[in-house]
Symmetry: none
Subunit: 203 residues, 4 copies
Amino acid sequence: MTTEPANPRYRSERSHKAILDAALKLCLEQGFARTSVDAIAKEAGVGKQTIYRWWPSKAAVLVEAIDRQSAPSIEFPDTGDIYADLRDQMVAVAKYFQTTQSSTYREVIGAAQSDPAAAQAILDTLVNPRVQGCRRRLERAQQQGQIRTDAVLDDVVELIYAPLYYRLLLGARPNTPSQVEDILNLVFDGIRPQTPNPPSTDD
Amino acid sequence: MTTEPANPRYRSERSHKAILDAALKLCLEQGFARTSVDAIAKEAGVGKQTIYRWWPSKAAVLVEAIDRQSAPSIEFPDTGDIYADLRDQMVAVAKYFQTTQSSTYREVIGAAQSDPAAAQAILDTLVNPRVQGCRRRLERAQQQGQIRTDAVLDDVVELIYAPLYYRLLLGARPNTPSQVEDILNLVFDGIRPQTPNPPSTDD
Amino acid sequence: MTTEPANPRYRSERSHKAILDAALKLCLEQGFARTSVDAIAKEAGVGKQTIYRWWPSKAAVLVEAIDRQSAPSIEFPDTGDIYADLRDQMVAVAKYFQTTQSSTYREVIGAAQSDPAAAQAILDTLVNPRVQGCRRRLERAQQQGQIRTDAVLDDVVELIYAPLYYRLLLGARPNTPSQVEDILNLVFDGIRPQTPNPPSTDD
Amino acid sequence: MTTEPANPRYRSERSHKAILDAALKLCLEQGFARTSVDAIAKEAGVGKQTIYRWWPSKAAVLVEAIDRQSAPSIEFPDTGDIYADLRDQMVAVAKYFQTTQSSTYREVIGAAQSDPAAAQAILDTLVNPRVQGCRRRLERAQQQGQIRTDAVLDDVVELIYAPLYYRLLLGARPNTPSQVEDILNLVFDGIRPQTPNPPSTDD
DNA sequence: TAATAATCGAGACGGTACGTCGTGTCTTGCT
DNA sequence: AGCAAGACACGACGTACCGTCTCGATTATTA
């Protein structure tokens, strides 16, 4: 795990799990900001020192907890239809971003703005693995001719995920499935007017 | 600012400005998280009460301070070329997001993840005015036929701004001018392969 | 009060008193060592900071509290009979040293062994005023010819008080009134054998 | 030492000594209060458990360590002149009480105010053996007519030692050889005015 | 011009949480 | 099998801030 020290000489597996569970539970109940390390320790039946021994901060605990919780759903689908796969994945993310649970993720990203180590942990543990999954799926699609060959895929990944995070973190508009689809259509077809030159075009 | 009262009488004007200046200065020097209300009050030569009289939180102070600082650059350019205008504006934003000053903005957005009132202030004061400026510019471009008529402009605005915020807040990659241009090209042309020949589907 | 800072710009008299009362109460109930600053603060309905603002340590709080409690009994009696006065005072001290309350005093002296500031406060606040009272009484007695003129009174004071503290702090034997009287007789008459016959010294 | 088990087998002898040495060394360097059991264990190259196996507390360790250190000087001199012997012994104690090493002893007595077991160990191990030595010397002197026959020797011992401890633990005045002698003269001759002439009473 | 009222600086207040240290017990794995 | 090394639950430490509440001094208005 990213946020662990190099040398877990030995750690109590029971305590480890109890800490992650307690952290998630309390954040769900009262929010990340209102959840103190003391409270996590008490809820987990653990000494505060044990938390500080294995994680550098409250945020780091929750990065690992969130990761463990969401690890199963990490794989990107591949049905052969890149549009459908992207849509399904984005809708799944959008739905998660609408849940109460994701508030914890949101607040952890917020805390990471003042905590470079936490920011790095988020990237390494939560964001990049999923981004890479998306990228690999895009690569296959590009090889199959479903995506322009000149598209820089790292940019494409960002273009797809960025609106979801924008809405999550700025809160201007909620992440709804229909808007996800609107965004995806724009990403596929662009905003340039349909080429006025005679030989053209889709709808 | 949203939370200001009707009658800032007496000595208030001087204090008001001193608070905003002190807040920006301290955040620049040591970051938002390490800047306490006490410290702002002391730096501004002001009683703590005076700060709480006008703003509900430290974040709210900085929303106003950042707004005052960036107010001049709020207008969206209109040279007639929507691509060039978007590129110039995005590059300007990207450059700002690379500065040290923007760290304060970044941290304030972070704090807002646990502070709905601050989140609303950010939207109302900092984000929405600029978003609306962008939207109005896009409307003119759409009327001039530079953008597809079926594009939903609110979505387009998000698609343009989201990657900038994504990089600001997730920190995966820096906001460089060249990447801004790559993104903009994707937004304009989409990722779907060119289909010059009318009858087509891939696979 | 000795242990207060020079500049009590203003302090809440209510809190001040509540802290001293709470400290004495908790020490009486569970002993000085088992009484934490947190507990005193909670019992007094006071913030911990308020304690640390006015006293450098838990021991300093209790020095002041004990002083306030015992201030009334500070005066040394003067009936004209120095022996009787010393006996009465010593017996009073011995009785106090046998009470549960004095355990707090005892433990505070114990803590002062590792805390020079507390040691000084004990001397200045609790010990020296009483020692001076005793000394002044001895001076009057010496002038009245009830005490040898060549006796160094500072030493006499110590000789009188020391056995009381010795028993208090070493705990070899309890401070009983009868032993007090034995000691006092020794102090008055010395241990040298009576030498009524003019020519005498033992080898 | 009181708390030692019956069978210190295996590697224990080396560890036992290392613990006592480490404890004394650390207390000398940084004081008893700032010396933790962990630190002693580390310094001695010993597991913490090994310390707790043999002693009930840090104070108990130091009682034994101090005892071992001062055991050689336990015997009371007997030159035949009780005054000279007492003076020599008291001066020796006074000198020791002025050394840095005695700070450890002082602090251990301090800690014992909140630790009855330690208090008992101090009495049994350090104080009573020396007190008994003094008492036995006084007995001989009394039999030789150098001390009043009606003097209760247990009280006399206390009267002699108490001022030394009073100064050690209260710290009002330092333990100097000359003051020791003043005290001793008072103990021998008392404070009552000389009444050499048969017919006499004070005022 | 003096008296009165308001506004503010300074900072004390009751609290909560922090991250560290020390305690005495328990666990692991080396020797 | 015995021990060092140190993880563990626990509890206290002293500090930093929070947001509220005095307290006086200074200012502005009214008498």
